[in-house]
């Protein structure tokens, strides 16, 4: 009985986790990076909708760019950088976004790797 209960609990946790953690259909990834004690920089990219880097404004200038293909099997291209004081949004550039480069200019020193990261 205990084994069945344990298995059910494990299944419930895994299933629940997968619902909570499920990414939207076209998302490549949502990557949070703690940049100060009070603020988080989030890098997000989507296959068909573009991407962004956001922070509450405490971590400095946000930047984002995407890499993409213009058709299936084409060479890969990078967009230029988008800069913004809080949310740098890069519009969808082409057929299929493969990922994003993100960063904020002033993450807290020592522990943060929010200056340059990928989604």
């Amino acid at each position: 009985m205990k084994k069945i209960a344990g298995a059910l609990l494990t299944f419930a946790l895994v299933a629940g986790g997968s619902v909570v953690m499920a990414a939207p259909a076209h998302a490549l990834g949502s990557v949070p990076k703690k940049c100060t004690y009070y603020d988080t920089a989030t890098g997000y990219s989507s296959v068909v909708n573009g991407g962004f880097t956001s922070n509450g404004g405490v971590c400095g200038t946000a930047k984002s760019r995407l890499f993409y293909q213009t058709y299936s099997g084409s060479p890969t291209y990078y967009t230029g950088w988008t800069y913004n004081s809080s949310t740098a949004f890069t519009p969808h550039p082409g057929n299929s976004v493969r990922g994003g480069n993100h960063g904020v200019s002033n993450p807290a020193a020592l522990y943060s790797d929010a200056k340059d990261f990928n989604s």
Binding site: A27, G51, G56, T70, T79, G80, N84
Partner: protein, 153 residues
């Protein structure tokens, strides 16, 4: 005699200061730096892009899909140029400082501001104001930018 010495020192000081100011003006377009340039004009921004584009061409890489998109220029860079660091070198030398300065100075009318406006409007919230005001409102109201983007916002 003491006055002459003072006048000479003052003249040298003025000349040095004038020289420094000229140097600073030139460095706005030529020197790579993390610093933001105040009052960048569109012509300066455009010139920086053209120099970046020329640098890439000379290195054997052609930018693709170059177009003016709103207040900014959009373009595609071949991945090989990024991987070889050619793109970063050309960008840093010719365009980075002007690009960053121009975009930050015009962020209230940027694609980023329009994106936040769309997300606020989707939630029935006030979508007016500056980039900072829009960001503050989106944060306070708990607007999920990722969900907004994925829903086509």
């Amino acid at each position: 005699m003491r006055f002459r010495g003072f006048a000479l020192a003052a003249s040298v000081g003025v000349l040095l200061l004038t020289g420094c100011a000229g140097e600073e003006e030139r460095s706005a377009a030529e020197n790579p730096s993390e610093e933001i340039i105040a009052n960048v004009s569109y012509d300066e921004y455009r010139m920086g892009f053209d120099n970046f584009n020329s640098c890439m061409s000379q290195a054997g890489f052609a930018l693709v899909d170059v177009k003016s998109s709103g207040s900014a220029i959009s373009y595609g860079i071949p991945a090989a140029a990024v991987d070889s660091s050619t793109a970063d070198d050309c960008y840093r030398e010719h365009f980075e400082r002007l690009d960053k300065s121009w975009q930050l100075a015009n962020e209230d009318s940027s694609e980023s501001a329009n994106f936040i406006r769309r997300c606020l409007a989707e939630k029935g919230l006030d979508d007016s104001g500056t980039m900072r005001e829009l960001t503050q409102r989106a944060t306070e109201e708990g607007v999920d930018l990722a969900a907004c983007l994925d829903s086509g916002g």
